[in-house]
């Protein structure tokens, strides 16, 4: 079974600064996807970024980027130029890659507060 660990229950960052959220996972699969989801106070789950395990290049989406280390089973999220709207719970998630449907396995989340 896969597990996802987020070791930072809470973090804070000053507006316009950079912050990195940690995520490690455990799996025996070779093909999989990794995701970061954001959950603001509105509780909507919003996809921030995804990474295919077979890609060596780290994914980026505007101010969001990941550091994917497959051998170390590490998948951290870097938020640059933090904005007040980035305040939210952030969940790291793992999904096996196959032809069928597989559920997401989530970490316990990191609560990020961006301070003005």
């Amino acid at each position: 079974a896969q597990t996802v660990t987020q070791s930072q229950p809470e973090m804070s960052v000053q507006e316009a600064e950079t912050v990195t959220l940690s995520c490690t996972y455990d799996t025996s699969e070779n093909n999989y996807y990794l995701f970061w989801y954001k959950q603001p106070p509105s509780r909507q789950m919003i996809l921030v970024i995804r990474q295919e395990a077979y890609k060596q290049q780290n994914a980026t989406e505007n101010r969001f980027s990941v550091n994917f280390q497959k051998a170390a089973k590490s998948f951290s999220l870097k938020i640059s130029d933090s904005q007040l709207g980035d305040t939210a719970m952030y969940f790291c998630a793992f999904m096996k890659q196959n032809s069928g449907n597989t559920p997401l396995v989530f970490g316990k989340g990191t609560r990020l507060s961006v301070i003005a």
């Binding site: 196959n98 032809s99 449907n101 316990k108």
Partner: protein
């Protein structure tokens, strides 16, 4: 246009009642899911359906029964509600084997 919608968004009910949560997606996806988010914000899969067929049924009490009348709908019916069922329930959909799109969630409170 709402991609994945759930009704109701809030549900307050008493122990022992039976209630349903409805989910609809207009993305044309084959697969739909129900997740439960507990009071500590932990999200866990409950069920997965593919083209109206139940694929995954995690260790969930049989008081919970999903129903998929068609590919675009996946409803969750809960019998004999208990205090411990209080949580946020999320519906999600995905094209086969790829990222999932979540509904807005339904906050269920059992008193």
């Amino acid at each position: 246009d709402t991609a994945v919608s759930q009704t109701p968004k809030y549900l307050v009910t008493q122990m022992g009642n039976d209630k349903s949560i409805k989910c609809e997606q207009n993305l044309g996806h084959d697969t739909m899911y129900w997740y439960k988010q507990d009071s500590k914000k932990f999200l866990k899969i409950m069920f997965s359906y593919n083209n109206k067929e139940l694929i995954i049924n995690e260790t969930v009490p049989n008081r919970f029964s999903p129903k998929s009348p068609d590919k675009a709908h996946l409803n969750l019916h809960i019998n004999s509600l208990e205090l411990g069922d209080s949580a946020v329930y999320f519906c999600a959909s995905s094209p086969q084997g790829y990222e999932q799109y979540f509904g807005p969630g339904t906050r269920l409170t059992v008193t």
